[in-house]
């Protein structure tokens, strides 16, 4: 019980009603057990369950002692030496390149809006927040419009080629172009990188930077030795926030390419779960592999959220 009780009367009330606060938490906790914890465990139970010999569909095996590792073993074999390995490497490459671009573009933007935007700061802030209220699929659809064979991009390129009388065949941007998919990922996720970084940069006390300059540091020195170290957690936080969904993304490559050349790991999961009726066990095994891979990122993110809410408490 809290020690800073105001009066004995309250102590008695609270003492009698010990069940009150757990009672408040109960519906939410039950909901999350039934619709988060059980489903989470069901992924394991189904990936390592038995295959129904007649219906050829997965039956969950809830007891870990009877787990059958055949399906997940095959998935691992595919990962190390099969087609799935190629897809996983491609996903890694896409995510790393896209994240790098997010840092290179996002850092200057967040830095400018948080520290140098001056009088129009609110407007800049509104503009970098705008993508949050526009649906991701709408933002991707806008690029599908622009990049379609008869879209604006090809029109402009044809016009420009016309000025210089260069022969120009409009390419089909949406048929398996790596650059288009990576740029789509950057376009889709960069706002989610900028915002936490903005918050981290915004928290840096101006006095700290002035102190650095007063002590004789140049602007560049101040940036590299004060601002950058103080914003490093914001960069890491932003990276985790964008990398987690990017590793499981399937809609961006599907919309902007749809070709097997640009298939990502999430596309394989989507294929087994949403496009076949008997792929449940394989889909579950692929999801477990994905979770093993991103567990580190999830734990990092979990700890930073937990730390933030502990700080809010104090």
């Amino acid at each position: 019980m809290p020690t800073n009780l105001a009066s004995g009367a309250e102590y008695a009330t609270v003492g009698q009603r010990r069940w009150v606060w757990p009672g408040f938490a109960l519906p939410g906790v039950l909901w999350l057990i039934l619709l988060f914890l059980v489903p989470f465990y069901a992924v394991f139970a189904i990936a390592m369950g038995q295959l129904d010999p007649i219906l050829q569909r997965a039956t969950p095996e809830w007891n870990p002692f009877y787990w059958d590792l055949t399906v997940i073993g095959e998935a691992f074999a595919e990962l190390f030496g099969g087609q799935l390995g190629v897809i996983a490497l491609r996903t890694l490459a896409y995510v790393f390149i896209a994240s790098l671009f997010c840092v290179l573009v996002g850092y200057p933007v967040a830095y400018f809006v948080s520290r140098k935007a001056g009088r129009w700061r609110w407007l800049w802030l509104l503009l970098i927040l705008a993508p949050f209220w526009i649906n991701y699929l709408m933002r991707m659809m806008s690029w599908v419009n622009l990049l379609s064979p008869d879209g604006q991009v090809n029109r402009w390129l044809t016009t420009i080629a016309g000025w210089f009388s260069v022969a120009f065949t409009p390419p089909d941007w949406l048929a398996g172009n790596h650059v288009v998919v990576i740029l789509g990922l950057v376009y889709g996720y960069i706002p989610f990188f900028i915002l936490p970084l903005f918050a981290a940069l915004d928290r840096i006390d101006e006095a700290t930077l002035e102190a650095s300059r007063d002590l004789g540091a140049s602007n560049a020195q101040t940036f590299w030795r004060v601002t950058w170290p103080l914003s490093r957690n914001g960069v890491l936080g932003g990276l985790v926030i964008i990398m987690l969904p990017m590793f499981g993304d399937y809609y961006t490559p599907n919309l902007l390419s749809g070709s097997p050349r640009t298939r990502m790991y999430g596309n394989t999961i989507d294929q087994y779960i949403n496009q076949t009726t008997s792929g449940g066990a394989v889909g579950a095994a692929l999801t477990i592999i994905l979770m093993i891979f991103i567990a580190g990122l999830m734990v990092y993110y979990l700890r930073s959220i937990n730390r933030a809410s502990q700080e809010a408490r104090e």
Binding site: V105, I128, N145, Q152, P196, T287, A312
Partner: protein
């Protein structure tokens, strides 16, 4: 920082690509790059022709035009159903997830005993779980375990509430810590019971957070794609984002852009209304912090 001392001007002239010029330029280009494609998509929802790349004049035909042709959002059944489904899910989710989340936040903040740590962890994990993982897990559990729940609106609703609860807890908990227990204790010293103190003191103080939760849950539910798609039942449970996903590559008419634009306006509308009410309530109950910063913080 914005003062223009002579040396600063001189350095800006001698080095126009110095940091002071590059930063606003990069930011401006970024903002243009992020807004213009969407702006063009919105523009072409008002095209009078069928093309999504050649401008043929202004018209609202893709929004409300011609019942007989059935090609506007209002009269094309598939587009109208998607709009209905998205709104229905968002409103249901908002009304169910908010009270559950508020109660959970109160419980977790004040319950001192065994189980609180585990419950807290259980509440936080959905926030860091990628949507595809949650989508697969919910799909499999409804397919193989809770198979009495039919795929469609029901599964989508249950899924949306599941990922929304934690957001409500985080929003409300921040406010709860800021309020502290002093006001309630004062009310109880003055003779109020615990429930009276809660109803007449704590709830009014929590009103801004409640409102913010309603708005955020509405926005994340109407915005959701992955969970809605994994838990879809059939044509009748297609939501707007699912419709955008399945229609975008099929050379659709500008009515798809119109549907997307409506979704954008509804989302922004919900946030703006909530922001204004939030400010009014916050002023009344003496809170601090601007609405825009709160909303920005919430996305985290």
């Amino acid at each position: 920082m914005t003062s223009t001392s002579p040396s600063r001007v001189r350095s800006a002239i001698s080095n126009p690509w110095g940091k002071s010029r590059m930063l606003p330029l990069v930011t401006l280009l970024y903002v243009l790059w992020s807004i213009i494609p969407v702006g063009i998509a919105v523009l072409f929802s008002f095209n009078s022709g069928r093309s999504r790349s050649t401008w043929q004049g202004f018209s609202t035909r893709w929004y409300v035009g011609d019942p007989a042709a059935a090609e506007s959002v209002l009269y094309d059944p598939s587009l109208r159903f998607a709009l209905n489904q998205s709104l229905k899910l968002a409103i249901l989710t908002m009304l169910v997830a908010t009270p559950i989340g508020v109660a959970l936040a109160l419980g977790l903040a004040r319950w001192r005993g065994r189980g609180v740590k585990a419950s807290n962890l259980l509440m936080l994990i959905p926030l860091v779980t990628p949507e595809i993982v949650m989508g697969v897990a919910l799909f499999l559990v409804f397919a193989e375990v809770y198979d009495f729940v039919p795929f469609g609106t029901w599964t989508q609703f249950l899924g949306h509430v599941t990922f929304s609860i934690s957001f409500v807890v985080i929003i409300v908990r921040g406010r709860l810590f800021a309020i502290g227990r002093d006001y309630e204790e004062a009310a109880m010293d003055l003779g109020a019971s615990q429930f009276e103190a809660m109803r007449r003191v704590l709830l009014p103080l929590l009103a801004p957070a409640l409102l913010a939760s309603l708005a955020i849950v509405f926005a994340i539910s109407i915005d959701d794609f992955v969970i809605s798609q994994f838990l879809i039942g059939g044509a009748e449970s297609v939501t707007i984002p699912v419709q955008l996903y399945s229609g975008a590559r099929l050379a659709p008419p500008p009515s798809l852009n119109a549907l997307a634009t409506i979704l954008m306006v509804v989302t922004i509308g919900a946030i703006v209304v909530a922001g204004l009410l939030f400010r009014a309530l916050n002023k009344r109950s003496g809170g601090e912090g601007s609405a825009i910063e709160s909303v920005a913080g919430l996305e985290m």
